[in-house]
Amino acid sequence: MSNNCFHCLESVPVGFTATVKIDGRPEPMCCIGCQTVAETIVAQGMTDYYKFRTVRAGKVEQLVPEQLKLVESYDNPDIQEEFISQTNDVSEVLLTVEGITCAACAWLIEKQLLNMPAVKRVDVNTSTNRAMIQWHKDALPLSEIIKSLLEIGYNAYPFQADLEASQKQQTAKAYIRRLGVAGLMTMQVMMFAFAMYFGMFSGMEENFEQYFRWISLVLASPVILYSALPFLTNAINGLKAKQLNMDLPVSLAIFGAYGASCYATIMAVGEVYFESICMFTFLLLLGKYLEFRARLKASEFTANLQKLLPLTARTLNVQGNEHIIAAKKLKLDDRVLIKPGETIPADGIVCAGATTVDESMMTGEHQPVDKYVEHQVFAGTVNHDGVIEIRINKVGQNTLLNQIIKLQHSALATRPKLVEITDKVAQWFVACLLIFASITAIGWYQIDPEHAFWITISVLVATCPCALSLAIPTALTCAVATLTRKGILIKQAHVLETLPQLTRVAFDKTGTLTQGRFTLDAVDILDNAYSKADILSLAAQLESYSEHPIATAFSEFTPQQRSLSNIKVQPGLGITGEDQKYHYAIGKSGWFDTKKTNAQATFYVDKQPIAHFYFVDEVKQNATELVASLKSQGLSCHMLTGDASNAGQKIAKKLNLDSFITGCLPQDKQQHVDNWSKQGEIVAMVGDGVNDSPVFNSAHLSIAMETGADISKNTADVVLLNSDLAAISHLLTVSKNTRRIIKQNLTISLIYNGSILPLAAMGLVAPWMAVIGMSASSIIVISNSLRLLKL
């Protein structure tokens, strides 16, 4: 028997001997959690899961009653209306399910839920980690569904799709449908086209040729009128906005050639080009869809985020009884109870209790803020260690959090934008094309009026910018795929075009340039009776019970054997504990005495200070290299931080930044970036906090850290999944290579279009030559783009 848990494959702790019989063999389990889950899976006859899973299951955590209470609160109709949609008597909900790793998980979840008769339909998506569930709400409360998922080891919570995300899903489906029609129909049209090519060489009966033309017309019509329609609407929208975009020459070629071919079929004259335009539509749609899908994946990844604010709040009535209500139903002057670890649902004033609050998501600073009676607390910040009661003084749109979000939305409307290279090329391409086509038409009209129309059409088909339109999307798709593999998510199409043009990079400090967590800098020992190792070991034992960010600085010193008992966490002060002889405490300086020091924590034995601790937020490993490499590429580096202390100055000096500005509010950051763009600089902002999200929309380019606040990741153009600064230089290299490949692609396709143009104008290009030329140039361009995958 192996020593690893059969369910989660982690090692089984000594002394835990539980087993579960799976497919007739007793298998070891590592904890009660895994055991219960495995038993459920066996009892439901779902052991296929273990046979076909490709990734191990997560270790199962036992739920505490508090969490179960939260799950039950999802049954409250006020809360439900935010995420449940109702059609007739069937309700639909989208759940984010944590821990989906492979197809076997999806099967397990679908099987488990469909066992309940009230559930109509379940659809699990393993790439977005979401499950769509349709069921009868009256027969089965939502909390039962979530609990049954917990039974098989998955934690789920309602997901509220924003409008943008669901529109993208719709677009993706429309793309697939259009692509499917184009693909299936193009195959048929090509088949008849080949019959006609052979007929041209070896002769074909007149009536068969005419029949094949009609069949091709019937088969090509859905491709042109359905699949290629977006090109036409885009071109018309562009014209309405007085812009010539790439879709204009594309639609000119497709719809011009289609019209002419229809006319030729009906009147039984001239040439037909059905196969060229079908092939062209299919290739173009494919290129566009692949590019769209690469970005969709990135945005799906970041959209799967927990909400900023809790859905529920615990209000207290006059008698002091607790009620759980929907957080959006909170009114001014409501009294709300907030327990440790909970997120504050609305802005309020503390009216009882003391605690420390993590405001890092608002300010970017990780040092917790002490809160006593009469202090203001903000919605979205997290209560650390004490129980407090607050009186709500701002709700809804007036909370500080929503003010910041509003700032971010208003910045989006005025966001600076660079002209995209595609549009530039398209403009003069369209101009040249129209001039050339009209010269051909007029020229041939003088020489041979009968053939003028057909030769002009063949010019349009031959110059159809297939390779040209594929030049950019294929290069971008390959570059995005390469970057995604390296943990860099690209969410916006403009990123790779903007990057090589940057002149300035602005960084946030905490969490971006620095680790965003405390490490022990110095220990000042006051009593030599204790060694440094002893002090650290005792302090670490106490701190292991604390949620305070400073506690993580001690985690490496935590000893295997614990000697302390009677541990108490005192909100706003520290932690105490004792062994047989002494009473120990670690906490804020001046806890038991009144001596003022600037130490961030002090260790006490029997209330006598023994050692002072000093912490720093260390600069990230790669920060120095990154700044040096950016500077060598001619970019200037700046720091915009909300922290008003002199830590910013120290780091700026250490990293040799060009400038730094401390004590910035979110709108100050925006102001600075706006000023720079007004001076003609192209600015990228790198940050991580909620306070950075408004400035993200002011900068030309925004980069967020994975460790940052969810809202900043949602706003940013780029998300660095491993929060590694070195990724930024990689990003720059890839973008420069992409630019080079795009230029090569454009040259190749322009050479093709340029060389076939005179031939077509002389009336030398038959339909089959147009197809070969177009496909060959497209394939060359695509292969060139594929080189980006090897970076």
Binding site: D48, K51, C102, A103, W107, K111, M132, Q188, P222
Partner: protein
């Protein structure tokens, strides 16, 4: 050769049916997660009943 006047329209009919099936599959979310659908054939859905009848 005049048989192709009948056979080709029949072939087109099949293509139309294929497109219908394809649209149905898209609506059923079969293309939103390609990873899952590929594995779905491996799982036995009636294993539970199977075990019961064996008992």
């Amino acid at each position: 050769m005049s048989i192709i006047y009948i056979l080709i329209p029949i072939a087109i009919l099949f293509v139309i049916i294929a497109i219908g099936v394809f649209f149905w599959a898209v609506r059923g979310e079969q293309f939103s997660d390609l990873n899952k659908q590929g594995h779905s054939i491996l799982f036995e859905d009636d294993k539970e009943q199977h075990n019961k009848s064996n008992d």
